[in-house]
């Protein structure tokens, strides 16, 4: 349970602040990290935090926000499942005069404040790394996240933007690995069968899948011939980068996103001035700089 007490942060009438948080998926390590930071900071600030897991369903998320509204929380932190589909939640919260802060990704309706980074950018960084590494020439395969989800769509979009800039960089195959390491591993095994050493690089929409690809390539003895890049910089990913099996990952600062989100939420709820948009930049992680990301 995530509620904690302390005397620091109280509303004018002396009651403790209540903040509701709905997270995209508590089964995703990155999101769990964002949440843990929110919870930690909420504890420090003496805020009662109610966390719910949307399990990647925008519908569920909208319903959870409705529920927060009915409970008259003081502020809502939403880690949106979808750009468009999670928007009604924002509309409803604003209509009920409850501040809502989007963390990590956006919705089409503007919330009270936004804390996070642009997913499209992360894919641009990853694909740019591949392009540089291959000298702008070679065959790339891409492993998608769950088809149709915001993160998948945006990461695909960013990757394709870069691919367009490098006409000699060919996307020879792309398929979904559903964010899952085992699925991505099987997919990669099958691709190795059909393309063999024609593959020069792999871009996976998250580290889990990237690590699955790495495993398949290692088993096939091809790892040192293929560049693998993914996004998230989860501990396993960082370790792999350090070992040199994963060539690069893109670091999204979970701690900062979480901290800034709860900070902003408390400010708004207390009627203090706040920043409407806090952008936390992505960072490319390679063997060269991996040490600074590891705890």
């Amino acid at each position: 349970n995530q509620s904690t007490t302390s005397e620091t942060s109280q509303k004018g009438d002396g009651k403790k602040l209540v903040i509701g948080a709905t997270m995209l998926s508590m089964q995703n390590e990155f999101i769990v990290n964002v949440h843990d930071e929110i919870a930690k900071k909420a504890g420090e600030a003496g805020v009662e935090l109610i966390t719910v897991d949307a399990e990647r369903s925008a519908l569920k998320q909208v319903e959870q926000v409705e529920s927060f509204i009915a409970q008259k929380v003081d502020a809502i932190i939403m880690n949106p499942c979808e750009v468009e589909a999670s928007s009604p939640a924002v509309t409803k919260a604003l209509a009920a005069k409850i501040p809502i802060i989007n963390v990590n990704s956006e919705t089409s309706v503007k919330p009270s404040a936004f804390v996070g980074s642009d997913d499209v950018e992360s894919a641009r960084i990853a694909m740019k790394f591949i392009a540089d590494k291959l000298g702008g020439k070679g065959n790339v395969v891409m492993i998608h996240g769950y088809m149709g989800q915001a993160a998948q769509i945006k990461r695909e979009q960013g990757a394709r933007e870069i691919l367009k800039q490098y006409p000699n960089l060919k996307l020879i195959a792309h398929q979904t690995g559903e964010w899952d390491r085992a699925k991505a591993m099987s997919l990669m095994e099958n691709w190795i069968q059909s393309y063999g050493s024609d593959i020069n690089a792999v871009f996976a929409h998250n580290d889990e899948m990237g690590l699955g690809a790495v495993k398949a390539l290692t088993d096939a003895g091809l790892k040192n011939k293929v560049v693998v890049v993914s996004i998230d910089a989860i501990p396993d990913g960082l370790q792999a980068v350090q070992k040199g099996t994963l060539d690069a990952t893109v670091f999204q600062n979970a701690e900062q996103q979480g901290a800034k989100a709860i900070e902003t939420a408390v400010k708004i709820a207390n009627g203090q001035p706040y920043e409407k948009e806090v952008l936390i930049p992505f960072q490319l992680v390679t063997k060269a700089n991996v040490a600074q990301f590891m705890k």
């Binding site: 349970n1 995530q2 509620s3 997270m23 508590m26 109610i50 966390t51 719910v52 897991d53 369903s57 925008a58 519908l59 909208v62 319903e63 959870q64 409705e66 529920s67 009915a70 409970q71 979808e82 750009v83 468009e84 589909a85 999670s86 928007s87 009604p88 089409s108 769950y146 088809m147 149709g148 989800q149 915001a150 769509i153």
Partner: protein, 327 residues
């Protein structure tokens, strides 16, 4: 003669049969009431009009699907394609629901038509081939997911008209539209099941397929009907969902089939066919909804929520079966 007839007519009103039936549902109703009571005592936030409205609104989509699958299960079948039908019909409806294009009837009818068609396809394959419904609808579940992605090119379809968004988001006399739709469809489905020949034939086909056949009932007609209706109800669920989140999502509804089937079974529909009621299914759906809402209200951590949810569902059905008379 007159008198003899009367003594036969009386038991119709209060027969052993109906008493047992009522008893059969008592268990799950008790479980439901107990859970509601417990929640009201633990948190004052539960028993408020606004929260109850939210619960019922949230339940509506699962309930619509559960009504459809109740028909199907009563005939002894199963429908795993519900979630995919929600996605397909939602995407189809959204495609026609942009502002200033078509009147709001067009997306509704298009969505509905696609659902009926999808359901009819399930029914067609199941009746023409000897492939078990489990496999057919598992297949069409996959096919449907693919279709939804193809139709939407893998992207959510947004920018929908206000009149369309009213279906899931609007209110009529203070009552959210999904609740109104839920009540309407509950009545329609209950009437079909209890008061029409089709409903009677569903019980017969599920209760003893050979007997139904020997009585001259066309099995394929009944089965076609239930799968098509299941598709139609899934379409309504898809439309409500799309309108509620103001987007047609190709990946909407994943896993919904299990919740819907759970609602039906918790409500007393037997997977072996031949028994089940719409009221039971409605209670089943409400039960799931109330538990999920309560766990959120109580701020149970999401990992433990799953554990508690599972335990309560099993517990509720255990309580129900303890209350059921032995045959």
């Amino acid at each position: 003669m007159k008198n003899a007839l009367d003594t036969y007519l009386k038991p119709v009103r209060e027969s052993y049969n109906t008493r047992v039936r009522r008893l059969g549902k008592v268990g799950i109703v008790i479980a439901f009431i107990l859970i509601c009571l417990a929640l009201s005592l633990i948190t004052p936030r539960f028993l408020t009009v606004s929260n109850l409205m939210i619960v019922v609104t949230q339940v509506s989509i699962n309930a619509l699907l559960a009504f459809g699958v109740t028909f199907v299960i009563i005939t002894g079948g199963i429908d795993l394609s519900l979630g995919s039908m929600v996605a397909v019909t939602g995407v189809v409806a959204a495609t026609f629901a942009h502002p200033d294009t078509y009147p709001v009837a067009v997306p509704i009818l298009a969505g509905l038509a696609s659902g009926l068609l999808f359901g009819a396809f399930n029914g067609f394959v199941i009746t023409r081939s000897k492939v078990p419904p489990f496999i057919v609808t598992l297949g069409t579940m996959t096919i449907g997911r693919g279709l939804a992605l193809i139709l939407s090119k893998g992207r959510p379809i947004s920018n929908l008209s206000d009149s369309f968004n009213f279906i899931g988001g609007g209110q009529l006399l203070g009552v959210p539209m999904p609740i109104i739709i839920l009540i309407l469809l509950f009545i329609v489905c209950a009437v079909i099941l209890n008061k029409t020949v089709l409903g009677r034939y569903m019980y017969a086909v599920g209760g003893n397929e050979q007997a139904a056949k020997a009585s001259g009932i066309r099995l394929s007609t009944v089965k076609m009907a239930v799968y098509t209706m299941s598709g139609g109800l899934a379409a309504l669920a898809g439309i409500v969902l799309t309108s509620r989140i103001t987007t047609g999502q190709p990946n909407a509804g994943a896993g919904f089939e299990l919740d819907a089937i759970a609602a039906a079974i918790i409500g007393g529909t037997s997977t072996s066919g031949g028994t089940g009621t719409m009221t039971g299914t409605l209670i089943g759906a409400l039960l799931i909804g109330v538990i999920s809402n309560g766990l959120d209200l109580l701020n149970v951590s999401s990992y433990y929520q799953q554990v508690v949810m599972g335990i309560i569902i099993i517990g509720a059905v255990v309580l129900d079966s303890v209350n059921q008379p032995k045959n």
